[in-house]
Structures are given as C-alpha cells and as structure tokens.
C-alpha cells in the first residue's frame, strides 16, 4: 500500500511535479530559508540560502535554479530527488510524501542525507 503510493509520487519527473505544484497557487509566494546538509555544502560551496515558492517542492526548484551545481548532487539524471536525501520542513520530515506541502513566511527547509547500513 505504502510503496504503491510512494512509487507514484517519487517516480513523477521532478520538473513535472514542480510544474504542477506551481499551478496550485492557492497562497502567496513566500521567501524562506533552505539549509543544506554538510555533504552538499562541501560540493556546492553554500550552507544556507533564501528561496521562494508556494510549496516545499517549489522552493527546491528555486534552489536548483539559483545554484545549478546543486542539481548535480541533489537530483538524479532524470531530475528526481536522490533517495539518499530527506526533506524536513520546520523539523518535520515531509519527503517522500509531502513535496506539495505549502510553505509560509519564516519556515525553514532542512535537507538531510539518509545513510544507513546493510
């Protein structure tokens, strides 16, 4: 049950998903802060940045447009968010099922990497 839902969500092309999210426009576009995990800080050269969007997914798209180098490490070659990263909105984990979560002023998005054993 869970995997079917997730599969549908995650396998959506990142760009297409963001396009759909942008079309919702149910609330005002806001500016919020995104904090990158250290592993992405090393690769991108930035620690935090301001982005704009209506939803978490929209903010990530904004991040990608501002810092194209991040795209190389955050997304796979099909433009999907890599599985090793998790997205948190104000300390609440929201990925993989909530990229369409609306954002408000002063929210903070934190990207963490999921790395386990096995």
């Amino acid at each position: 049950m869970i995997h079917q839902h997730t599969s549908k969500t995650v396998s959506l092309s990142f760009d297409l998903m963001i396009k759909r999210l942008y079309t919702k426009k149910t609330r005002g576009k806001v500016s919020i802060r995104v904090k990158l995990p250290p592993i992405l800080q090393q690769l991108s050269g930035i620690e935090t940045c301001e982005v704009t969007g209506y939803t978490v997914g929209g903010c990530l798209k904004s991040l990608e447009m501002q810092f194209p180098n991040i795209k190389n490490y955050l997304l796979d070659r099909q433009g999907r968010l890599l599985g090793i990263f998790g997205i948190y909105l104000n300390s609440e984990g929201i990925y993989p099922v909530g990229l369409d979560t609306p954002v408000r002023d002063n929210d903070e998005i934190v990207i963490l990497n999921f790395i386990t054993g096995g």
Partner: protein, 613 residues
C-alpha cells in the same frame, strides 16, 4: 525476572549429546549478549591455531537481551566462530525470526561443538533437543530445506540452515533463515564442516521482562517515533536500494572491481526501477520497518525470478562491481546465491576479481571453463555463481575466496584481489571515504561494512578525503557497533528509533541491570568486545602488518569518481597510529597490558604477554 533466559544450549555433534548450562550474571553484565557474549565464550573455549573447518572449532549463535521482546528491530542473532576465510574471529549478524523463537524455547544461545559422523540436523521443541539424520535434506538448497523441515515439524517451525555451498565448504558460505542470512566471514562453511545441515525450533514459551509496565511504555514510544520517521518510511519503501544512485554520484560506489567510480546507466539500478517489480514488504520478528523488498521479475530472460532483495550491497556486488546494469539478472543472481547459500558480497567481489584478470589476460577461457567473463555479461555471471555455489570447475577456485585464489593463480593476480585479511571488501570505495578504509583495515573480522560506520564522513561533518585525524572517530564507531551488535540492535541507524539514552532505558527495564542505564557503560562494553576480538586474532598471529588495505587503495588514484576522483589513501600508517593510540594499543596494534586491566580482561594477559614484548 529478566529478558535474559539465562540459559545456553551446548550441543556436541561428535557424541550427539546436548546439555543446558547457566550463563553467569557477570558475563551478561560485562559482555551484554549477542556478539559480545559469543566472543567471550569463543575466546575462552578455543585454543589458538585450531583448524577453522575442523571439529575443534566451535559455532555460536547468540541472542541479545532485548531479543524476542516487543521492542522494535532488536530480535537479531549473532553468529560467531573462527573464520575459514580469514583465520580471524568471525561475526555475522542475521535477522529473521529464528532467534526470537530460540529465546521462546528458553535459550539465549547455542554453542555447537565437535563434528557429526554423517549429515544431521537439530530439532528443538518442548520435548527437548533431538539430533536427527539429515537424510532427505542434505544436498537441498536453502529454500527446499526450510520447506521440507516445515513439512516435517509443522508450518510454524523456524529454521536456520546451509545450502549446497556450506556442505561443500565454500569459504564464504552463509547461514540462512527465511531469506535473511548471516552472510559474511564464512560461518556457513563451519556449519557444513560439522555436517550440521540445519537447526529447527518449535516453541511458544513466554518471555518475561524485568519491569513490564515501564518496558511497554518505552517500547510504545519507540513505535510512535518510528511510525512518522522519514528514514523509516524510506527503508520501508525501498530498503537500502535508495543508496545506489546517490552513492555513485558521491564517488562511493566501486565499479569494475574498484578500478573506477562511474557506472554508465546506473539509473537502471535505481530504487525507482526496483519498485516497479516489488511484490510486497517482509521483515524480521517484531519490526514494523519491514525493510525487506520482495521482488519478482515478470518477463524476459529471467521471468519468474523472485528474491527478497537485492539490497544495496548486492546491487553493487553483482551489479555495479561487474558493470552489470541488467536489473532482472540481479534478482535472479541474488535468489541463486540465497538458494545455494553463498555471500553475495564475497561472490560478487570474487567474480569482479575474475573479470579483471580476464580483462588483463591473466586468465582466459581455458581457465574459466569457457566462460566469457567480459564486464557486464550477466548470463555468464549467473553461470559462474552456480559454479561457485556448487564448487564446480573454475568455481571451486573462486570459492576459496579472492586471497587464496590470487595466491594460486599468481602472475600478478594478487594486485587484483580486493580483500582485507582474506575477507572481500564490500560496497564502499575506501579512497572516497577514508574513514571506511581505516575501518576495513583495522576490523578484526576483515573488510566488513558492519564493523562500524564513519557516520560523520557520510554526513559531511567530517572531511571524508582527509588523510589524517580519523583514528579516534573510527575507534568510537567500532566501539558503538560492537555494543549495538550485542544488544542486538539493527544497524539501520535512526530507522530503529533509538537514541543511546532510550536504548539504555529499555535495557534496564528489560533486564533489571541498572548498569545498562548509563550509555557510557555500554560503550565500555563495546570497547571490551573489540579488545577481546583483537586478542583472539593476536593469539592467532595477527598484528599491525595485517591491518592494511589492497595496494590499489594506497597507490592508485581513484579514477572517474566524481568529487572523489584522484583520491588515494596516502597515510595509512598515520591513521593506524591514531587508531591504536585512541584504543590504548601498542604500535604493533596489540592491546597493552594496562589496557587489558582497564577493560577487566586481566585473565587474558597471560595469553598475549609474549606478543606485547
């Protein structure tokens, strides 16, 4: 009352006898359970120099104090013995259901000693311990063996068993239960050498805990945390397959037997592709994560292939490492390895070794029984897996492990053998995360990814490319893993929902031992365990000279690995010095006498005094 049963089952296969003995409380408090307790028994009962595949070696199965309780992700079982691959102490931790039911039968663990005259299996039920002839199951694969024993003893029977590979002493044979295995270090070959095909248990006894109400409250808290944990959700949805593509981007994913770090078309092995053939989840006793991914191939050459996997390690071993991006072939190969009973990591590593030798012309089709071992040739890979598992032709040589195979082949083959102390390196490029390089080099069981993890280097809070300043972190990582393997807690990090404090609270509520309430006490147990494991190896003649990595890691800059391109482990000696300093070992890599006293291991001083001087 305590969650320990306090009892150990000792089975002597030579005289077909068994006895039940108590576990001294002091041992529980000093070694906790699982890996630690098993290492303590093995060290005390085994003489140095014992032949690993002979009757004097012992095979231990040990549960932890939280096993079989309502806590999540703790019902795992440690398998410990002397390894036929390395000659070192061996440890492998397995999931599944068998361990929990062993505790329900009244035992924290089993020590198997001696060697049967002819193939046998052991059945444990309310009437006692029965040593029975293995007629009718010897020679069967692991799937059929389990099915046959369930037919014979009832559908609820829990089984651990070996496959044809264990029977034929493939040095990296596994022990399997359902589709979960003790996969590394060749524990299945030891079981095969004892002619022990399986252990089956039927049990329904109650298990108590010291403080039931407090324990229930804590365990429910863990369940609540896990329900909403994104990491747990990720594990449920994808298992460890989600790591593949990201790791390749980071340069962590070894390709073509560690020759480079880039795999063309790696997206074919992404978690999204595996989800397309997923049937359902499966999991271990008492775990809601259910990270197992049951997959079935619907069409094509491998139509019908079914496996609980492959996981990240196997996706690498039989996929990326061999430049094989045929996803369906991975399911088939994973299933074949499980049925034959061989470790997918060592198998894939050994085949990668053979492919590189083939590429370099060191071996030809004359050596490989006509197999064309060009990279990515999945049809031939499957044939070679079968040969290894059945020890046939060229497979017989590879079944000895890459170290022995390279020594046999000569002609420079040693430079292509990617192992540490004889254990094949798993799915992490040491040059791209040098803390892992140090873990592999110093691990007392050989190159094992479950001997501690450089978490800060993965997270990026420590520089993974730095040549120095890693020894203390890695010592702490190994200490933490040893404690974890003794609880026994699943290694999927935050996916278990534990903090050091919550784990300690659960242990106190379960056992009544207040000492466990201090996380630092558990760390000291972890340190004691790796110290004792090292003593085992020192007694066998191991020292600093063996704490090393293949020359490739130390001299050849990593190629084509994204941000890790050009990396090489330049200062292994410096890292070793840091590591030994952190643990109180001498420059030879041997625990000092003072350290043994600090660890409460004075009784072992006489065994190693001559090595310290």
């Amino acid at each position: 009352m305590s969650s320990y049963t306090g009892k150990l089952l000792r089975i002597n296969l030579s005289n077909r006898g068994s006895q039940i003995e108590g576990i001294p409380e002091e041992l529980m408090k000093n070694f906790l359970g699982g890996r630690g307790l098993a290492a303590r028994y093995l060290y005390s009962e085994l003489n140095a120099g014992v032949e690993s595949l002979g009757p004097d070696n012992k095979l231990l199965f040990m549960m932890g104090p939280l096993g079989a309780t309502m806590a999540m992700a703790v019902s795992r079982m440690a398998v410990v013995t002397k390894s036929p691959l390395t000659g070192c102490i061996a440890k492998s931790i397995m999931g599944g259901n068998f361990g929990a039911f062993l505790k329900f039968a009244g035992f924290d663990g089993i020590i198997v000693e001696g060697e049967a005259e002819k193939p046998i299996y052991v059945h444990i039920d309310i009437n006692g311990v029965h040593i029975l002839d293995a007629d009718g199951i010897w020679g069967l694969d692991t799937e059929k063996t389990q099915a046959r024993l369930r037919q014979r003893h009832g559908a609820s029977t829990k089984v651990i068993c070996i496959g044809p590979a264990g029977e034929k002493l493939v040095r990296y044979a596994i022990i399997l239960s359902d589709r979960r295995c003790a996969g590394r270090t060749g524990v299945g070959a030891v079981m095969g050498a004892k002619k022990l095909k399986a252990i089956a248990v039927n049990s329904a006894g109650p298990l108590s805990v010291h403080d039931p109400q407090r324990f229930k409250r804590l365990a429910r808290g863990q369940i609540g945390d896990l329900k909403t944990s994104p990491r747990r959700i990720q594990m449920t949805n994808f298992g460890t397959s989600y790591m593949t593509v990201g790791f390749e981007k980071m340069g962590l994913f070894p390709v073509k037997n560690f020759q480079e770090g880039h795999l063309e078309a790696i997206e074919r092995l992404s978690e999204e592709e595996f989800v397309k053939i997923k049937v359902k989840n499966s999991g271990c006793y008492g775990c809601m994560t259910r990270c197992g991914q049951e997959r079935r191939v619907a069409e094509g050459l491998y139509a019908g292939a079914f496996s609980e996997g492959p996981d990240y390690e196997t996706i690498w071993a039989l996929g990326g490492n061999l430049a094989n991006t045929d996803l369906a072939s991975l399911v088939a190969a994973d299933s074949l390895c499980d049925k034959l009973g061989i470790d997918t990591i060592s198998t894939g590593n050994a085949i990668g070794f053979a492919c590189e030798l083939f590429e370099r012309g060191i071996i030809t089709k004359k050596d490989t029984d006509g197999l064309d071992l060009t990279w990515g040739n999945h049809k031939e890979i499957l044939k070679l897996v079968e040969k290894i598992g059945r020890r046939e032709g060229f497979g017989e040589l590879l079944g000895e492990g890459t170290k022995r195979a390279a020594e046999h082949i000569g002609k420079g083959a040693e430079t292509c053998a990617m192992h540490v102390k004889g254990l094949e390196i798993p799915a992490y490029e040491p040059r791209a995360i040098k803390g892992y390089g140090l873990i592999f080099a110093t691990s007392n069981v050989g190159a094992n990814h479950m001997y501690g993890r450089p978490r800060e280097e993965f997270a990026g809070t420590k520089d993974r490319f730095a040549d120095e300043d890693k020894g203390e972190d890695i010592a702490l990582a190994q200490i933490g893993q040893a404690a974890q393997d003794s609880v026994i807690q699943c290694s999927f990090g935050a996916a278990t929902g534990f903090t050091p404090e919550s784990r300690s609270e659960l242990l106190v509520a379960a056992t009544g031992f207040n000492e466990f309430g201090d996380p630092a006490y558990l760390d000291k147990i972890g340190e004691r365990i790796i110290c004792l494991e090292r003593l085992f190896n020192v007694r066998e003649g191991f020292s600093r000279k063996d704490d090393t990595l293949p020359a490739r890691m130390l001299t050849e800059p990593l190629k084509n690995a994204g941000p890790a391109t050009g990396q090489v482990i330049r200062k292994l000696d410096t890292l070793l010095d840091e590591y030994y300093d952190a643990l109180g070992y001498t420059g030879k890599g041997i625990p000092s006498i003072e350290k043994l006293r600090q660890m409460g291991l004075e009784w072992a001083i006489q065994d190693i005094e001559r090595f310290v001087k």
